[in-house]
């Protein structure tokens, strides 16, 4: 018998909490939070395991491993591990931990997973271009009023709305 999942927090309260986390990050470390940088390092690490020289000579990834540096040795890696743990904890405590996937009932699972991967790939690429994602740029950079972050934020909303109708089958 499944637990009744708790309700989500009021969005404005959740927003305050989120803002406090961002604030805490800046006050403690002098910079905001992030997520996509982790993926960039993870990819470099995975590739480095099979093709080390290729990574070392790559103009973008080379810096992660230059001078014998450890790819995983970066605060962002630990922060994202924390995100995973925090999400896990919250999901369990709220009775929301459930293995499955989210999609419209009639939509095939393989298609959903393919789109998830494809959409993720698009975001991975995009986040490198923009030097961050919604966490690092829009939220953290937005809070300090970085012009690029606000530009990015508007573009994210625009891009999402533009594609929404195209993929609505997936969701409803």
């Amino acid at each position: 018998m499944s637990q009744t999942p708790k309700k989500y927090w009021n969005p404005y309260l959740a927003g305050v909490a989120l803002g406090l986390v961002v604030l805490l990050s800046y006050l403690a470390l002098g910079h905001g939070i992030g997520a996509s940088g982790f993926a960039s390092r993870a990819g470099a690490a995975a590739l480095h395991a099979v093709a080390p020289e290729h990574v070392e000579q790559n103009a973008y990834m080379g810096k992660y491993v230059a001078n014998g540096a450890d790819v995983w040795d970066d605060w962002l890696v630990f922060e994202v591990v924390g995100v995973f743990l925090g999400g896990l904890l919250s999901a369990f405590l709220a009775g929301r931990h459930k293995v499955g996937m989210t999609k419209a009932p009639g939509f095939p699972a393989w298609a959903r997973l393919t789109l998830a991967f494809g959409g993720g790939a698009l975001m991975g690429f995009a986040a490198r271009l923009a030097r961050g994602c919604t966490s690092g740029q829009a939220l953290s950079g937005g809070a300090v009023l970085s012009a690029g972050s606000w530009i990015f934020m508007f573009a994210v909303f625009a891009g999402g709305y533009a594609l929404a109708l195209v993929v609505r089958r997936q969701w409803r």
Binding site: L29, G124, G132, T134, G148, F152
Partner: protein, 392 residues
């Protein structure tokens, strides 16, 4: 006195850096999940307008953090210029944003929330995470081809106060007001589109929500009041007293390490460009605009004929390092350095030989016309880029 950020770059021993990183990450992940952002259904609803949580949470988060910055800065506890964020690359960020938004609605998550979803057991969340990793690698692989674009339209570390010329406190207030107005709108839009789908809209304007927002507004107001009270118009910095130096000292310094000095000739052109001047001297006219940006670790020796005038002294104030005026100006230089000491003057032998050596040194090199344009006078402003706002 600034006490925040607590651990400015490299202040925390590297081995311990992971502790605040994990803790902050956990708080982040926890809040994201509580906000409902571990669910693709909630996240994409933003783009179908029946649930505007993404907008509400994100903007409330932004104005909360801003209120916090205003408060801490206003109380003198935080130096805003110590906060690091990435530079503004206009076109890459526009294109990146559009692509990320598209990927968001296609995958159902953003990079951060995909991790939360994966933690909550969602396969599509996990696949999204893998996709983000793959996309990053793809980027690195094609990087040489797009490097030009990637580095284009760089406006540096630019903030909205810089762009609009509106100081941070006023802009923060404006944004908070605009966001609040948009929250009203968001509630209405949600109601309309939920009903269209036959669903009852989620009501967010409840006591807790309003209290939360009210709290933020209160903190923001307090912070902004402090900010405004603390810094009225730009206060005029007190006039720096200038030290003085002698021709011998300057000569000795130039011989041992000329790179420790800026030598500035305060005479007007064309005098300051003529052959009659100190070696490697810069014309004040040429560098006046750059003084504030010049590396303050060097000593700036200013001279005139004989002394710099009031206007020059005022202009020199912009330099952030130590300034010394050459006593006696150009004449002193010519008399003490470029000419032999008078044979009948009483001076200790070491001093005499030193002056002879200096004269030989400087007249040997001073015979050729000095270069017209001062080379390497004003190094570019180094606003430390430091690490980006998170993802680099």
């Amino acid at each position: 006195m600034n006490t925040f950020p607590l651990f400015t770059f490299d202040a925390l021993p590297h081995q311990l850096e992971f502790i605040p990183a994990i803790l902050i990450g956990m708080a982040f992940g926890f809040v994201l999940e509580r906000a409902g952002f571990g669910s693709a259904k909630v996240l994409v609803a933003q783009f179908y307008l029946n649930n505007m949580r993404v907008f509400k949470v994100m903007f409330t988060g932004i104005i909360t953090a801003m209120a916090g910055f205003a408060l801490f800065n206003g109380l003198g506890l935080l130096d805003l210029s110590m906060l690091s964020f990435s530079e503004t690359f206009v076109w890459p960020m526009i294109v990146g944003g559009l692509l990320l938004g598209a990927g968001f609605v296609v995958s159902g998550y953003c990079p951060g929330t995909s991790v939360v979803a994966a933690a909550a057991g969602q396969w599509d969340g996990l696949l999204t995470v893998l996709g983000v990793i793959a996309g990053s690698v793809a980027f690195a692989e094609v990087y040489p081809a797009i490097e030009g674009f990637y580095l284009s339209s760089n406006l540096g570390t630019l903030t909205l106060p810089d762009v609009f010329g509106i100081p941070f406190p006023y802009l923060a207030v404006g944004i908070a007001l605009a966001a609040t107005a948009m929250f009203f709108g968001a509630e209405k839009v949600e109601a309309i589109f939920s009903r269209k789908r036959g669903e009852e809209p989620e009501v967010s304007w409840t006591r807790p929500g309003l209290m939360g927002l009210g709290g933020v507004v209160a903190v923001g107001i307090v912070g902004i009041v402090f900010l405004l009270a603390g810094s009225p118009a730009r206060p005029v910095p007190p006039q720096k007293p200038f030290g003085s130096t002698t021709a011998m000292e300057v000569a000795g310094q130039i011989v041992s390490d000329a790179s420790a000095l800026y030598v500035v000739d305060t005479r007007a052109k064309p005098d300051c460009e003529g052959p009659d001047r100190l070696p490697s001297s810069l014309c004040l006219e040429d560098v006046a605009a750059d003084l504030g940006a010049m590396f303050p670790g060097k000593t700036l020796v200013a001279y005139g004929a004989p002394e710099p005038d009031e206007a020059s002294l005022a202009a020199l104030q912009a330099y952030k390092g130590e300034i010394r005026v050459l006593t006696g100006g150009l004449s002193a230089w010519k008399n003490e350095i470029l000419t032999d000491p008078p044979a009948d003057a009483k001076m200790p032998p070491e001093e005499r030989s030193q002056r002879m050596a200096l004269k030989a040194f400087f007249t040997g090199t001073a015979s050729s016309a000095p270069a017209a344009a001062p080379a390497g006078g004003a190094p570019k402003v180094q606003r430390k880029i430091k690490k980006g706002g998170g993802c680099s």
